[in-house]
C-alpha cells in the first residue's frame, strides 16, 4: 500500500466577480515508503497549490475535491477538521523559502520542541534532548538550539526547517523548492541530506521543484505538471530518455547541459488561463507535435511501462 496516494485532486480559487480559477485539475499521485517523487513544472502550474492541498493549508477562498490517502485513510474527507490531527505527526512540510519559516523572536529549538510537546512525544528536558538529536541529524550541533533564526545562515535554516519537519516522525515529507535561493554547494548538501533521510528513516517524500537536473539527481520517480494537470509520470530515466509527452521532452531540451552538447531550446508561448475551462489538451497551442484531436478532445491516459503514464494523444512516445 502506498504511504501517500492522491486521487483526482481538484482545487478551485474564488475570483472577484463570481468566477473561479481551476488551479489543480484532477491529479493522481502515489508514493511508497522510502520513495522520492519529484513534482516538476513551470511556475504557476499548480504544484505548490497541490501540495498545500495535501496538507489542507489552503485559504478560505479555495474549494477542494478529491481524496488524499495516508496509508489508505482519506484525510481530506472532512476538510480542515479531519486534516488537523494528521498535520506534522503524519505528514509534514518544508516550505519554499524556509528561511522565513521560523518565528524570528523565538529560539530555533523552542520551535522544534513545540510540535514535540503538542503531540505528546516528549516534554521538558526530554524534548530538549530530542531537539538536539534532530539538529544533529541534519548536521547542526545540538547546542545551537538556543540560538535565534537570524543567527543561522540560509542553508542552516533550511536544514533546521527539515529537522523541524521531522520532529514528529511523519510518514510523508512534502518539500517545496527546498533548494531555491541557496548557493550550489549548499544545494548539494541539502539534497544529499534529503536522500539520506528518506533512505534511513523510510520517509516518503514529494519534492516540488522547477529544476529538472535536481529531480534527476535526487528522485527516482517524477510527475510533470502542466496547467494544473499531470502530463506525465514515470521514473526519471524514462522521462529523460523515453518521454511520452512532448512537454516532458521539451522541458528536458530546455535545460542547459553542463557538457554543452546540443542547443538550448526554450518553449515558445505561455500557459493557458486557468479561469476558463480548457478544451482538449492544455499544451496543444505550444506543442510541436500537436495534431487534429489535440485541440478538441481531452487526451487519454497512455502507458508504456507499468508506472510510466502520460496524458497524450500521441502513440509511441514524444
Amino acid at each position: 500500500m502506498s504511504a501517500l496516494a492522491v486521487e483526482d485532486l481538484h482545487v478551485w480559487f474564488d475570483l472577484p466577480g463570481g468566477r473561479e480559477l481551476h488551479a489543480v485539475q484532477g491529479i493522481d499521485l502515489a508514493l511508497a515508503r522510502g520513495e522520492r517523487l519529484g513534482l516538476v513544472g513551470e511556475s504557476g502550474c499548480g504544484k505548490t497549490t497541490a501540495i498545500l492541498a495535501m496538507m489542507g493549508l489552503l485559504p478560505p477562498s479555495a474549494s477542494v475535491a478529491g481524496r488524499v490517502l495516508l496509508d489508505g485513510v482519506d484525510i481530506l474527507a472532512g476538510g480542515d477538521r479531519t486534516m488537523r490531527p494528521h498535520r506534522w505527526t503524519d505528514i509534514a512540510m518544508v516550505f519554499q523559502g524556509a528561511m522565513n519559516a521560523f518565528d524570528p523572536v523565538k529560539t530555533v529549538g523552542s520551535q522544534i520542541t513545540e510540535p514535540l510537546e503538542r503531540a505528546g512525544i516528549a516534554s521538558g528536558r526530554a524534548a530538549r534532548t530530542r531537539t538536539g538529536e534532530l539538529l544533529e541529524l541534519v548536521g547542526i550541533s545540538a547546542e545551537r538550539q538556543d540560538r535565534y533564526p537570524h543567527e543561522f545562515s540560509g542553508g542552516m535554516r533550511q536544514r533546521a526547517a527539515i529537522a523541524m519537519a521531522l520532529a514528529c516522525e511523519p510518514k510523508v515529507l512534502l518539500a517545496d523548492e527546498p533548494t531555491t535561493a541557496l548557493d550550489v554547494m549548499v544545494q548539494a548538501q541539502i539534497l544529499e541530506l534529503l536522500v539520506r533521510l528518506t533512505d534511513e528513516l523510510g520517509l516518503a517524500m514529494v519534492l516540488v521543484t522547477h529544476d529538472l537536473p535536481l529531480v534527476s539527481q535526487a528522485c527516482t520517480r517524477a510527475a510533470v505538471m502542466y496547467a494544473g494537470r499531470i502530463a506525465e509520470t514515470g521514473t526519471t530515466r524514462e522521462l529523460h530518455h523515453a518521454p511520452l509527452h512532448p512537454y516532458t521532452r521539451m522541458l528536458f531540451q530546455a535545460t542547459p547541459d553542463l557538457h554543452g552538447t546540443g542547443a538550448v531550446r526554450s518553449i515558445p508561448g505561455a500557459p493557458p488561463r486557468l479561469d476558463e475551462p480548457t478544451v482538449g489538451c492544455p499544451f496543444s497551442p505550444r506543442c510541436d507535435r500537436a495534431f487534429a484531436p489535440c485541440a478538441t478532445t481531452r487526451p487519454p491516459l497512455r502507458s508504456a511501462e507499468p508506472g510510466h503514464l502520460a496524458h497524450c494523444h500521441l502513440e509511441g512516445g514524444a
Binding site: 493549508l57 522565513n100 518565528d103 523572536v105
Partner: protein, 324 residues
C-alpha cells in the same frame, strides 16, 4: 548574553546630542528672534535689579557665541532662567504643573492602550467582518477629531449626565473641610477623569489602527503558515507567535506617541482649565513670560527625546534580532 552595551551606548549618545541640538534650537529661537525676549527688557513688571541679575547670569552683554556657551552651560546645570512673572527659577515653577499633567496623561494612555490594543487584535482576527469595519471607522473618526473640540463635546454632553467636574484639578472648598486623604484623592480623580478620557479617546483611535495593521502584517508572515502546518489552532497561533511579533512595533510606537501627547495635552488642559504644563505654557504665552515659555519648550522637547530613547531600549530588549 548579547553584548548590548554599544547599542545602548550609541542610543544614549544620540539622545544626548539631540538634547544639545534642542538646546541650541531654543537658543536660536529666543535669542536671535526679532525683538530681544530674554534680556527682560521687555518685561513690564520687572525690577531693575532683576534685569541686572538676568543680564549677569546669562552674559547678555557678551558676544553671541559667548552667550550661547553660557546658555548651554546654565541649561545643563538646570538653570533655565527665571520667570518674568514670579521671578522664581523656571525649573522649579515648571515642576508643579508637570506633576499634575503626568498622572492625567498616564491615566488616559492606559485607557487608550487597553482599549486600543484589544480592539486592534480583535479587529485583525476578525478581518473583514462588521466588528473589524466598525473599529476601523471609529478609529479613523476619533483620529480625525480636533482634540479641543472633543474635549468641549465631553464637557457639553458627558459631564452633566456623569456628574463630573469640568475644570481645575480639585474642588477649592474641599480643602477647608479637611476630610482626609481618601475624599481628596477621589476629588482629584474626578477632576482628572474627563481630561484623561479625552486623551484616551484621542490616542485610542490611533492605537487601534496601528495594532490592527501590525497584527495583520504578522499574520501574513510565513512562520504563521508554518504554525498552521504544525497543527496549531487559531488561538494558539495568535498567542504563541503573532502577538509577540506584532507587539514589537506597537510598543515602540506607543512610547514615541507618548512624547508627543504632552503637546496635545496643551489643548485639553486649556479647555478644562487643568493646571498642568500645557495650561502653564498657554498662560506663559499670554503673559509674555518668555523664560517660562523657553523652559517649557525645552522640557517638552527633552521628554520626547527621552521617550524615544526608552522606545529604543525596549526594542533592544524585546527583539532578539537587534544586536550590534
Amino acid at each position: 548574553m548579547r553584548a548590548g552595551w554599544s547599542y545602548v551606548g550609541r542610543r544614549a549618545l544620540f539622545a544626548l546630542i539631540t538634547i544639545l541640538v534642542a538646546i541650541s534650537l531654543n537658543f536660536v529661537l529666543f535669542r536671535l528672534a526679532p525683538g530681544d525676549r530674554t534680556s527682560a527688557l521687555r518685561c513690564q513688571g520687572c525690577t531693575q535689579e532683576f534685569k541686572a541679575q538676568v543680564r549677569a547670569e546669562f552674559g547678555l552683554d557678551k558676544s553671541v557665541p559667548e552667550q550661547y556657551l553660557v546658555y548651554v552651560k546654565e541649561t545643563a546645570t538646570g538653570n533655565l532662567g527665571r520667570s518674568f512673572l514670579t521671578q522664581q527659577p523656571v525649573l522649579a515653577e515648571l515642576w508643579k504643573p508637570i506633576r499634575n499633567t503626568i498622572p492625567m496623561v498616564l491615566l488616559g494612555t492606559l485607557f487608550a492602550i487597553s482599549l486600543g490594543l484589544t480592539l486592534g487584535v480583535v479587529s485583525a482576527w476578525r478581518r473583514g467582518t462588521i466588528t473589524d469595519r466598525a473599529s476601523v471607522w471609529s478609529g479613523l473618526l476619533l483620529y480625525s477629531l480636533p482634540t479641543q473640540w472633543l474635549a468641549l463635546m465631553l464637557i457639553f454632553y458627558a459631564a452633566g449626565p456623569l456628574g463630573l467636574p469640568t475644570s481645575d484639578i480639585a474642588d477649592p472648598y474641599l480643602a477647608y473641610e479637611n476630610p482626609g486623604w481618601w475624599p481628596e484623592l477621589v476629588d482629584r480623580l474626578e477632576h482628572m477623569v474627563l481630561p484623561a478620557a479625552t486623551i484616551g479617546l484621542v490616542l485610542f483611535g490611533e492605537y487601534t489602527l496601528i495594532t490592527r495593521s501590525s497584527m495583520l502584517e504578522s499574520l501574513g508572515e510565513d512562520y504563521i503558515l508554518t504554525a498552521r502546518a504544525k497543527g496549531l489552532s487559531n488561538w494558539q497561533i495568535v498567542r504563541r507567535h503573532a502577538l509577540r511579533n506584532s507587539l514589537l512595533p506597537i510598543v515602540t510606537l506607543i512610547f514615541l506617541s507618548l512624547g508627543f501627547i504632552l503637546g496635545g495635552a496643551i489643548l485639553i488642559e486649556t479647555v478644562f482649565n487643568y493646571p498642568g504644563i500645557g495650561l502653564q505654557l498657554y498662560e506663559s504665552v499670554s503673559e509674555r513670560d518668555y523664560p517660562m515659555l523657553q523652559g517649557g519648550f525645552l522640557i517638552l522637547t527633552v521628554s520626547v527625546i527621552l521617550m524615544n530613547f526608552i522606545a529604543d531600549l525596549l526594542y533592544f530588549r524585546l527583539d532578539p534580532r537587534v544586536t550590534e
